[in-house]
């Protein structure tokens, strides 16, 4: 059997990958670099969310910037309010925009707990409602992709437009790092790095388990033939909404982490280019594999910052060309190369199939349907 499909090997690969990542702060002392690596972790979480929705569910989502951006704004509002107090309740940009009191929807963000909860709940709820409306109406495939794109641009323009409340194109720049109770999360510290990494590991495990569960099985069936699944008694719209919403929740978490790391958010998070680059990470890395998507984010974002802003235009040109080639010739992404290489290896060493028919929790956990 191909080592790539071997369940134990997959879990082992995750383990090794994350242990190496966790050890990085012991080697890297440059806190700026560490902060940059943490943001890659955030991008990896986004790629993971895209892989869930698109790779496993077959739902191409070009608007993942919506939950990411909403989560990021929620976090930025929370952090901004940590720097305000009763004597000075208004963020400076509101005063510049001549508001005379704190807008009502900012009030809950006084409380850090409530603020972060809202930063996660609002985008998730948006995905649930939008997804349910679309999937109930059986909007799917390219049409759904376009509707997410349209929704993204609608949110972007709205947030840009209500300048007094969001500081428009300048975005929100919380002056101080996030405080959780007495703890200050310094974005340029190993602690921040490990926080993001822990969340990424958690997200990976949850996502992996989901793809292996009965839920994951049904979701993959929907990708194959949604209509057939209905006649088996499953409410397809429910499954589609669920996977889309869960994927949105992951993106919202990523949005919160991102603001924690950068202390900045702006309508640029709703740019189509950003949402499409998430799809590119997952596509080039390998959308059908969570690991592939995660590696894709690290690889591409790493290369992009290494090449620097001077080459940005050339780099995007190369990236676009490379993406075309991957779509055309490597639908499984770069990780697909690993799959076929290991496949050739195992067939040359006379690999055998494991013909088990036993259903146990262990064997289910160790099966990988999509990879």
């Amino acid at each position: 059997m191909n080592l790539y499909h071997r369940p134990g090997a997959q879990w082992l690969a995750y383990l090794v990958f994350y242990v190496v990542l966790a050890a990085v702060p012991f080697v890297v002392s440059d806190n700026f670099l560490l902060n940059q690596l943490s943001t890659y972790g955030v991008f990896a979480m986004l790629a993971l969310s895209i892989s869930l929705c698109w790779g496993f569910g077959g739902i191409l989502n070009l608007g993942q910037g919506i939950p990411f951006g909403l989560g990021a704004y929620g976090m930025a509002m929370t952090m901004q309010m940590q720097s305000q107090d009763a004597s000075n309740p208004m963020p400076p940009f509101m005063l510049n925009n001549s508001l005379d009191r704190l807008p009502l929807f900012w009030v809950p963000f006084w409380n850090t707990g409530v603020g972060i909860t809202l930063a996660l709940v609002v985008p998730t709820l948006f995905c649930a409602i939008f997804g349910w409306l679309m999937f109930r109406a059986r909007v799917s495939g390219p049409f759904f992709a376009i509707m997410t794109l349209a929704m993204l641009s609608a949110w972007g323009t709205l947030i840009l437009d209500i300048q007094p409340y969001t500081n428009g194109v300048n975005g929100i720049t919380p002056p101080a790092p996030l405080k959780l109770g007495e703890i200050v999360v310094d974005p340029y510290s190993p602690a921040a790095y490990w926080t993001v990494l822990a969340l990424l590991v958690l997200a990976t495990v949850v996502a992996k388990l989901m793809t292996l569960s009965r839920f994951g099985l049904v979701v993959q069936s929907v990708r194959n033939d949604a209509e057939r699944v209905r006649f088996l008694g499953y409410n397809v719209a429910g499954y589609e909404t669920a996977i889309y919403t869960i994927s949105g929740f992951f993106a919202a978490v990523a949005g919160c982490c991102w603001v924690m790391l950068t202390q900045y958010v702006s309508p640029a998070q709703f740019d189509t280019t950003f949402s499409l680059s998430m799809v590119i990470w997952a596509g080039i890395g390998g959308r059908m594999s969570l690991m592939g998507a995660i590696l894709g984010a690290f690889l591409i974002q790493g290369a992009q910052s290494y090449l620097g802003d001077a080459f940005l235009n050339t780099w995007l040109l190369i990236l676009g060309g490379f993406f075309i080639l991957v779509v055309r010739f490597l639908p499984k992404g770069l990780i697909g190369l690993v799959e076929s290489a290991l496949g050739r290896l195992s067939s040359s060493t006379g690999g055998k199939t494991d013909g088990n028919g036993v259903s146990s929790i262990r064997s289910r956990l160790l099966q990988q349907p999509g990879e």
Binding site: G58, L60, F130, L133, M134, R136, A137, R138, V139, G141, P142, F143, A145, I146, M147, L149, A150, M151, S153, A154, W155, T157, L158, L160, D161, E227, T272, L276, V279, G283, N313, T314, L316, L317, L319, G320, G321, F323, I324, V327, R328, P331
Partner: protein, 300 residues
């Protein structure tokens, strides 16, 4: 005035101007969406590079005008040919391998859009370019309280002309019969001797060329930038989605969304109007997911 007393700020002449502007917006969105509509309608391909085709049209006109001294009136058909050729090359080199994978065509054409946009940016830079037009186009028509620029009227007329031309092409020519046969059932059409491959190729080139025409007009309405495509493409997609992918559907959808945008904008402002419109479209699709005029679904 009875209506005027309803809203304190309601001004009938301004509102009528908004309605007329709505017709103009509709014609702009429609001409942006026409190429997309026929490519989607005939081949089922969602062309994410459509916005960049529009951008290429604008740059083609710019080049012809500033380097070869073409008059603007000649730039428009020339842009059609240039962008149609680009579309033809793209279809032969990439799209034709992906017809059976609709989501992948969407992604591949997105890659193409990135390449085109960055390529143009590397060649021409990010600073805006301008298209010059004969002075008569840059004047305004003033008729009692109605005020609209001549060029917007030109765009409207060109759009009407193209729609009529497309209708004639699809319903009055042999090629049109072939396109409609391929749309209905590719295998069946092929067995009757229609070269489906050729039909796809030509419709793709035609759609791209129409984007080129739109681009050279938009270059006058606005400035010419490598990123200009993105500002038209979302509206163009929505017109196709709401219309259901047929020519008649796009005309109706373009008209409805353009007018609504202008009316909402009259009561609020441009950006908020756009948000309202998008939300309205989501709700509309909940009720009518197949769009306004969709071809009937295939049987299993």
């Amino acid at each position: 005035m009875a209506v005027g007393s309803f809203f304190t700020s309601f001004d009938l002449s301004a509102f009528i101007n908004a309605l007329i502007l709505g017709i103009s917006i509709a014609s702009i969105w429609l001409i942006a969406a026409l190429g997309l509509t026929i490519i989607y309608g005939a081949a089922g391909v969602i062309n994410m590079a459509h916005g960049e085709f529009i951008m290429l049209g604008a740059y083609s006109s710019y080049m012809l005008q500033s380097f070869l001294g073409f008059p603007f009136v000649l730039c428009v058909p020339a842009s059609f040919l240039i962008v149609a050729l680009v579309g033809l090359v793209l279809e032969r080199g990439l799209i034709r391998y992906l017809y059976k994978r609709p989501l992948d065509t969407l992604l591949a054409t997105f890659g193409v859009s990135l390449v085109l946009m960055q390529g143009v940016r590397l060649i021409f830079g990010s600073d805006p370019k301008y298209l010059a037009v004969p002075p008569i186009f840059s004047s305004n028509i003033q008729f009692s309280f109605v005020n609209i620029s001549v060029f917007r009227v030109v765009v409207l007329l060109v759009t009407l002309g193209i729609v009529t031309g497309l209708w004639a092409l699809f319903y009055r020519t042999r090629f049109g019969v072939q396109v409609r046969a391929v749309m209905q059932d590719k295998e069946m059409a092929a067995s009757f001797g229609v070269n489906a491959d050729r039909v796809y190729m030509l419709t793709f080139a035609l759609g791209a060329g129409l984007a080129g025409v739109a681009g050279s007009l938009f270059g006058v309405l606005n400035i010419v930038l490598p990123t200009m495509g993105a500002s038209y493409v979302v509206q163009a997609f929505l017109v196709v989605v709401v219309g259901g992918g047929t020519l008649a559907g796009s005309v109706a959808a373009g008209g409805a969304t353009g007018e609504l945008q202008s009316i909402f904008a009259y009561f609020t402002n441009d950006t908020f109007a756009r948000f309202l419109l998008f939300v309205l479209i989501v709700v509309f699709l909940r009720i009518r997911p197949q769009g306004l005029f969709a071809p009937s679904a295939k049987r299993r």
